[in-house]
Symmetry: C2
Subunit: 370 residues, 2 copies
């Protein structure tokens, strides 16, 4: 009845969880939601021109601004190879559509961003483990090298070099997803792998959701010359172009003289939140879990000492108004049990304290029942 | 190197034409662009809540409002089976993704909306002619019954009944695309075919691009119960959700007490533009082409007496600053030569006069060369 790609379609745990997090009193560590109080206030006027149809690649001034910033990072991304996306999730769909037939080998980290796994699976990809380097037969290598989702890890410079080299040698297209790079709380190498891909085939994408506002649904990609034109055609077929109003607002925001200061404030705000969360974790979960405070991004990744299936834990947690993301969902293959992803950006300190206390109680109760 | 679906990917003529219509002095009859002067002026404030992530299905209040209106049209579309889209082009991609494997038979009108044909082809559809009724083996029947693109035709009531009956009998999913229904200048049956599909499988979609503003990229769909949940999962995988700001603005606009008056004014404005265009056509093209004034929508569909390939004519026209859409692009199979789609909503009366005079000269010159 449906296309074969629908066979692999399952309700996303994100979706199910997003459906309950609006409940009053719910403490959510689940989604990668920014702190609502850190979002901008916007008042303005929209010109009629902005409300007309626009170009599929995006607004020229926004593309030029993104290009400038990417070039400064060493990426070969002139304005004519920058495309504005309706959120970086769209980039994942477009790149998957460009490359993946049933059984196409796609290298992914394990664990990695679950909504990327879902899309790759839907197009029929054979997921192969990145391990240290992408498998030589992989057509595409998807990687979140900076403050990875879900682990928060930041790949060292030598490994970034090695990934680029492996992709170039095997003629594998690098697909670098970099939504968290601006949210850096401690020093580490954040230089894009895409900046090391001269002569190769690559897509680099980023997002305005974490630094500005997710509700506008805006991201961007840059790609090597062999890919860009086709990605634009695919973009046109899915939504003609992204909201011009969102593009106008984001352009105004990121070219505002106050943008860098806003970004510093945001980073300071999230750094403090991370530190507070780390302390609260130590108070409540030190005896049942291990973790490392992430140097950037939005997540703590916990390994429980007791390897319980955290999907079952989630059901109990939601009954007690606490949401989190079971780590099992992030594995391309057999999951490591007992892992949990906790978002620390959305809940305020009091809610986080309450939520972590509850979580600790639930984990201890499971341990006692076993 | 790329997925097999990329083989059928060709640059869209819309895209190529959109790239030149911003030239100064260009008269464009090509795209389905609203009159820029008929677009709203908007000034407002965005709350932080609106800028946070939101639900994949769309904002509950907007879904409820759309539902009310669809139910009034006789469509079985409760709020929980209404989804907000990032433009109705997105609906085409989602429905195609849900149904089409390589060689899946899809019934389409001939001619029909070219960007739908492109998407169906990309997913590998075997396009079968709708002719009077969808072929009995078609899995999906795509139809624009009201002010069709490109012909402007409005399907009579008896034929709407017959299409619904044929889909129900053959268990073909009806995919009704209805972006122009509000732009009705003369009386005709506009009752959706989807309202006649009780017990069957159907998707009905509409757009806010023609009545409000294309630049916000917002549309909606409703679907029968067997399809809706899967469409939401697919929507989530492509962009998580549509811009909440666009949704907020559209909700405010369509629930404003002045909305119906705005719509009447818009229809009056376009009716006058259609009538003026019809007269200008008669002055300039009566001896070389045949047409019927459309009862609604945004297009005149011309049949040239001389069956020239209008794709060649387009090249000459663009050199003289006139753009139009060659009819050949709208055919799923072998095209009827000598057809042209002219948009009458975008160009003002003076520009239209100039553009049609030029077009007439070019057509006569081709006739003389033959």
């Amino acid at each position: 009845m449906f296309s074969t790609r629908i066979d692999s379609l399952r309700p996303s745990p994100i979706r199910e969880i997003l459906a309950v997090i609006d409940r009053p009193d719910m403490v959510s560590f689940a989604g990668g939601l920014p702190a609502t109080e850190a979002l901008p206030d916007w008042t303005g006027r929209i010109s009629r021109r902005t409300l007309q149809y626009g170009p599929s690649e995006g607004e020229p001034d926004l593309r030029a601004t993104v290009s400038e910033r990417l070039v400064r990072l060493g990426i070969d991304a002139p304005p004519e190879r920058v495309m504005i996306l309706s959120g970086s999730q769209q980039g994942i769909d477009l790149v998957a559509k460009l490359f993946i037939d049933p059984k196409t080998p796609v290298a992914v980290q394990s664990p990695t961003y679950l909504a990327a796994l879902q899309v790759f699976r839907m197009y029929g990809a054979r997921l192969v483990d990145f391990d240290l380097l992408p498998a030589p037969d992989a057509r595409l290598a998807y990687i979140v090298p900076t403050f990875a989702n879900p682990t928060g890890a930041c790949l060292p410079s030598t490994e970034r070099d090695a990934v680029a080299r492996a992709c170039l040698d095997a003629k594998t297209t690098l697909f670098e997803d970099d939504p968290y790079r601006e949210l850096a709380y401690d020093a580490c190498d954040r230089n894009p792998i895409a900046a090391r891909m001269a002569g190769g085939s690559w897509v680099y994408q980023g997002s305005f959701s974490k630094t500005f506002a997710p509700g506008l649904r805006l991201g961007f990609l840059a790609a090597s010359d062999d890919l860009f034109g086709r990605l634009v055609m695919l973009k046109q077929a899915v939504d003609l172009h992204s909201s011009r109003l969102s593009q106008r607002i984001v352009f105004d925001a990121i070219t505002d003289p106050g943008w860098d200061a806003r970004l510093s404030d945001l980073v300071a705000f999230y750094r403090a939140r991370r530190d507070g969360f780390d302390e609260a974790l130590s108070r409540h979960l030190a005896s049942v879990a291990d973790w490392q405070a992430p140097r950037g991004g939005l997540f703590f990744w916990l390994q429980l000492r007791d390897r319980i299936d955290t999907r079952e834990l989630l059901t109990e947690a939601i009954e007690r108004n606490v949401a989190f993301m079971p780590g099992e969902e992030f594995y391309p293959g057999r999951p490591t049990l007992g892992t949990i992803r906790l978002n620390f950006s959305h809940a305020g300190p009091d809610a986080a304290e309450r939520g972590l206390r509850t979580l600790a109680e639930l984990i201890r109760a499971v341990d006692c029942r076993r």
